[in-house]
Symmetry: C2
Subunit: 341 residues, 2 copies
């Protein structure tokens, strides 16, 4: 049994911890948290051993009546691997801790690519992570793009990708974020970081990305153009691309009969089906939007920023420790989590 | 003096009426309106003769104590040209009225291109409207794209344009519109109507457009990709494109020193400078966003849906009646309205 520690029990950490407990080959050693807030109480309610992420905050947990199993140092020491799900930048600060204990670590997409041996997407470059000490599971948006580009690259070849990312301003709980009633080019200067980030997974892919922020909290939406390789044997039809994408395990092809026009109805669809927290781990692609004009493929997809990286983190654990190959790991993760809408 | 009637005194009509009164070669005969709401009162306050757009509503104006100069029939009869600024689809219903009086008419972008002899943009195809009886001033978004493509096509040639239009859900006063907290691909099936609409101005331009709607009211934002003609003599630098666009009279190049990150600050900039209603008649292009990667040009521009077509309507009046050429008309319109930020 793989002993997994989760450092950081916020948006990503709490979801990864839950997913780890579902895996037949993994055991959750515990989770570490900075503050005794409602999520710390949740860890206790779930019976997850809770560790103090910062030593001088222990008394806060005591004051809140939340029992601690120890400090993050002890947690990391007891684990075969640690999933760092701390806020952007904190992962880099934590790296020496993991090195001190010789515990391999996964980081999230908010960290710099330079911090790690390899960036990771389960569909695109699973094997690259084997034996690595420091692996970065790429961000929600880069995960969504990698899942899309992998089959397109394999089936047709990609000449160039151009993506406009219409990003939610903040998560539902991030009440200090904006904008309100505005559409912000963000960043104004191109490219956005997403293009270079995709290149950490597909080094040779030609991609330009533009980002905007809007007053929405539920999901990101990508307006995707992929110019397919003009030297390939004929362009695929839109239906052929739809069939190709429908075969992907972590892609939900929204049908027109679903009457789903945006993220609100997508979340409702997931909640109606009992998904934990209404999570949408899959790329949500509007089937109707898939179009081919000359050698240009277009589509819209929605990406759930809070959850699409969760199965990727689970797979990255096995990839690093070399306990399963990509197909085995993805299948096990999908089955235990209940992937497939 | 050109006698101008404005039928429909809403978002566009009231702005066009104001702009017409500023023209040394035009006289506003009057405006027609359906309901005696606050805008009808505004027409009265401005001293604009008010006509009833629908005969059986006359008593509503009487009841509201708003004096009428007559019916729309009389207004059209007295005019050399009528600007139809009625809601989408009503323009088509009004066409027989204008024909009955042999009065040439301008329609707005919400009408079908089939309704008219030619679609119109002052920068791109001014001369096409001369002598036409029915002319459509294209929509705010198509106007914004036409102003952008015209100089690019002239200077470099356009191989293909791909535009994602992140559209405001409704105008500030359209309280029945959405979405709230969502990002909607709209339409889901491609292309959006904008591409074909641009082709009414540039018939040979290869363009694909994708539209979305978001919870914002102030302006639309375009994420623009223009693949320049690869056969041209070398690609321009980003700075050369910036200089080219800066020479356009109806383009505002937002500088990084302005610290303008979106539509809210753009509106504030316009209001601070005393623009009527805070209108932004110009394409608002983020200078920093102008980028050239291989033969791909990228940029962001914001488009004020309530006002960018106003100077175009003024120019279309002269174009139809043949009283000035494109350069003369645009210069006169710009000077009287106070174009140039």
């Amino acid at each position: 049994m793989i002993q997994v520690a989760v450092n950081g029990y916020g948006t990503i950490g709490k979801r990864v911890a839950d997913a780890v407990t579902l895996q037949p080959d993994m055991e959750l050693v515990g989770v570490a948290k900075t503050s005794p807030n409602h999520e710390a109480e949740l860890a206790a309610e779930n019976g997850y051993p809770l560790y103090a992420a910062v030593e001088d905050r222990i008394e806060l947990f005591d004051a809140a009546g939340i029992e601690l199993a120890g400090t993050v140092d002890e947690l990391v020491d007891a684990a075969d691997i640690v999933v760092d799900a701390c806020p952007s930048g904190i992962g880099a600060e934590n790296r020496p801790l993991y090195e001190a204990h010789d515990t391999p670590a996964l980081y999230q997409g908010g960290e710099d690519a330079d911090l790690v041996d390899t960036s990771f997407n389960a569909r695109a470059n699973y094997a690259d992570a084997e034996g690595a000490d420091h692996v970065r599971v790429v961000s929600c948006n880069t995960t969504g793009l990698s899942r899309l580009f992998a089959p397109l690259e394999e089936a047709y070849g990609v000449e160039k990708a151009r993506v406009t990312l219409v990003r939610r301003g903040g998560d539902p709980g991030q009440t200090d974020r904006g904008p309100i009633n505005d559409i912000l080019p963000n960043p104004v200067a191109l490219p956005s970081h997403h293009g270079p980030d995709v290149n950490t997974i597909f080094p040779d892919l030609s991609i330009d990305t533009l980002g905007l922020k809007v007053p929405a909290t539920l999901m990101h939406t990508h307006s995707v153009n992929v110019q397919l390789d003009p030297d390939a044997d004929g362009m695929p039809s839109a239906d052929e691309v739809r069939e190709l994408l429908a075969e992907e395990d972590r892609t939900f092809m929204i049908q027109s009969r679903h009457d789903i026009d945006g993220a609100g109805k997508l979340k409702e669809y997931a909640l109606d089906r009992g998904r934990p927290r209404g999570d949408l781990w899959e790329n949500c692609v509007w089937t109707e939007s898939v179009s081919v004009e000359d050698d240009d493929l277009y589509l819209f997809q929605a990406i759930h920023q809070e959850s699409d990286v969760v199965p990727e983190n689970v797979d990255a654990i096995r990839a690093v420790l070399g306990t399963a190959d990509a197909g085995e790991s993805r299948e096990r993760t999908d089955e235990t989590m209940g992937m497939g809408l």
